[in-house]
């Protein structure tokens, strides 16, 4: 019953994120520009060379794709700003006057906001890999991929 309260917060926040779906989608799409720029830059740098400092061109590009993905899912600090703003403007009273815990409320909200962008960004991530597949470097040790997935998820929860 208690959990139901916070699933409701999760749901409504998810709906709120979807209300701005165009914003989310375009910002995901535009991050492609960043990767494409890196692609052009590193093509120029690597022209005529096989390796720079032990790194190949696919390694460099893979690094860029992954780092873009990571920075996008690590932007969960909105909730903190939101709370600060609510305290400043008096919106915080809605947690005092209603039977709800602010901490759990924020946690549900944070999880919800995170999962929406996680969803969109993961899809975008997979598309980039597909586009640059000939230049995408897949690590030899599959354990590294597993570690990556675990930490990426941890990052999203944070």
């Amino acid at each position: 019953m208690l959990l139901k309260k916070y699933t409701a917060v999760f749901n409504i926040t998810f709906k709120e994120s979807v209300a701005y779906r165009f914003d989310t989608l375009t910002s995901a799409a535009f991050s492609f520009v960043k990767i494409y720029l890196a692609y052009l830059l590193w093509t120029a740098i690597f022209s005529g060379k096989e390796e720079i400092g032990g790194y190949t061109f696919p390694m460099m590009l893979t690094y860029y794709i992954i780092i873009t993905f990571i920075t996008r899912i690590a932007r969960s600090e909105n909730i903190i700003w939101e709370t600060a703003e609510e305290v400043r403007t008096g919106g915080y009273t809605k947690y005092i006057t209603r039977p709800i815990r602010h901490f759990s409320y924020c946690l549900s909200r944070s999880l919800s906001k995170g999962s929406f962008s996680f969803l969109v960004d993961t899809i975008a991530f997979l598309i980039w890999i597909l586009i640059f597949r000939s230049n995408f470097y897949i690590p030899e040790n599959p354990l590294n991929i597993l570690y990556f997935v675990i930490f990426a998820f941890w990052d999203y929860l944070h």
Binding site: M1, K4, K5, T7, A8, V9, I12, K15, E16, A19, Y20, G90, G91, T93, K94, I96, T97, R98, P99, I100
Partner: protein, 321 residues
Amino acid sequence: MINVEKLNRDYYFKEKEPGFKGALKYIFRPKKNVKRAVKDFSFSIKKGEIVGLIGPNGAGKTTLIKMLTGIIPPSSGSVQVCGFTPADLKDDFRKKYAVVMGQKSQLWWDLPAEDSFELNKEIYQIPQEQFDENVKELVAIFEVEEFLQKQVRQLSLGQRMKMEIIAALLHNPEVIFLDEPTIGLDGTAQKQIRKFLQKVNRERNTTIILTSHYMEDIKILCERIIVINEGENVYEGTYQDLINRVSPFKIVEISFERSTEITHTLPVEYLDRNPFKVKMKIDKGEVKNVIGKMFKHYEVEDVAIEEEDITDVVEKIYSSI
């Protein structure tokens, strides 16, 4: 239902002087100040009453409501609402009341009001049946059915306020605090909200505490009013008593069939005087007498009796008590 005794609330604040020097001084040696926003305030409200809380801006109305709902604790004195001390913030207490502040919203800006209602259903753990019934009934009274699926930010101020009130009533609160619910609304919307509140009060026996700057709200809704000025309880009683006390006059306008010169000396103050029409301020006890004389001695065409201008009365309430 509500018992308030010798309630005090002090605000501590640091004074900030203007200018660059002032800003520096504020960092290192701020001037500390105390303001007593609510002073020795006592009153009690019975179940099912509608009570109006009026007073000029900055009188302490909102501070008082904040203490009644537990948003801020009192500096001293006691508050009891539905048998609870609000500042303890017990969940059982928070399910018993609702608060609507005209300038703050609990609705989700980017979503239809219906979604906010659903959220409140879970927050207050309202049974599905009661929820459906309440939404249906409240939406019908306000005639806002067609706006339920519209994003809140696309609603007009009046429509939003109605949704705001519906959201606050879904869990059948025993007490509802309304801080300027009609602020900025047009006449029709104001009337609808008043009617709505009367209905809720009558049918559910909900206790309503209301603040407003519109005297119409107070006059029509409130059986009893409490006037607060500079944090003090300066008047408690009915609206009519208050009006009689601060405004012992009526305004009487008499028009004549032909050009008339009033020759009698009457106990009135003339506000306007011309051969076809006079406008007089008359002591309430003398109205009958004066009008009688007028009919007897002059050819009166029409008579209009009004209360003194409400704005003047309010000004008097705030300055004279």
